[in-house]
Symmetry: D2
Subunit: 134 residues, 4 copies
């Protein structure tokens, strides 16, 4: 799997001159979208199945500030899978140095109710299990 | 009609310490939403009619910078109406001083095609014409 | 202490029609700013002392989706204080229902180095300890 | 000069499922940053000279909606230069089709006062004049 790269934009930096902390949550989404594309099961495909995948929880640990024009390399992997939920882990680096660690937990919803991934989206479930890291 | 107030947030300021210029376009939308609510014809009502109202064009003239915690007072009025389009004008002030002047042009779309406001949304059309300023 | 209110903006909602999850991190900042103002020790005062207060970590648990025009009431309290760090906890509700729970951890930096709050900003430290909830 | 490419992110789309109109103002900034880098006179170099370059005005004409994963190609050129101001013009396309046309006007400020570009930043002035299109 390829890492995802985000170059920090001018409008993403705040009064302290650094990337505003809320933006890392967006970078994580960008990396997740790219990851699912690489797995062969993108957002559009999930939504075309009339299934939505809301975020249940997120967390970020900010290790070092980044700023305008920094290229953040984001390594993504699936760190946990159950019938109903799956978790992504993100390691964000500029050069060799870790700038932020993140996690996000997700489920799938159809007609307002959670669905078992293995039953409703077996293809995605298998793809996810194959790339899962322990 | 009441003016709309937006207090500038920390995350809306950029590396220069001032409100990023793209955010004024968002403040204009906030003020427009509030204005249509005051007219008695809010966004939800328009969308409930299965009609969408895209922005055709916007412009902003930035007169003075604003920053964190500034309260921007936005005066909104409808400056032009035709069968197919209507234009909002915005005057944004902090205290007595104008910080930004804006304009936005809008139409209405149903099933992918522009519709005549006076025929498809006569109530809104009349409400708009009544408050229009020359 | 008064709760902070954020009315969800049109531009804060995503393709699923709900508030994008990254925005809650911004609402938490808004509520934190308001809280410190109420405590009598706002962001400007901290920055005027040449001290910066970066976010060390954040987490959000999303309980229910919110959307355009929902008024999110945010209850904030300080849940943990040490010499070097302090933690905010956020409970976000629409009406009676919890929509999101959050936490954020902070430190203070002067000339690029962490400082002890009790020594460098004793006034803030005392104010924080007084309002701390266990 | 190379065109600049922006792939539309999930979080940049709104409730109507299309790129929120305010984001084009940000894409224009991204393209401008890239353009000045290509000219050999980037934002950091300008700011290192203690000069700031605020936006005086912007305008956008929205021609066609774009959405998640669309790759917007942005052609940038300098359309007007005077001693005190310079104007960028932007043509944004997805494939062959124009999706948005934009303009932005800029000046330079030092110690709170506008400066003549040709005198204060002669290198940039010459670079700009060389690439200017009529």
């Amino acid at each position: 799997m390829n890492t995802y790269k985000h170059e920090v934009k001018y409008y993403e930096c705040d009064r302290m001159g650094v990337t505003h902390h809320s933006n890392y949550v967006r970078f994580m989404e960008e990396a997740r979208v790219d990851y699912l594309d690489q797995v062969g099961y993108g957002f559009e495909k999930i939504e075309a199945d009339n299934v939505f995948s809301p975020v249940i929880s997120i967390q970020c640990e900010y290790k070092r500030p980044t700023t305008f024009k920094d290229v953040i390399e984001i390594e993504v992997f699936i760190s946990h899978v159950t019938e109903m939920k799956f978790e992504f882990t993100y390691v964000m680096r500029v050069g060799e140095k870790i700038v932020c660690n993140g996690k996000s937990l997700h489920c799938f919803i159809e007609n307002g109710r959670p669905v078992a991934i293995s039953k409703r989206l077996p293809e995605l479930y298998q793809a996810i299990c194959k790339v899962k890291k322990d």
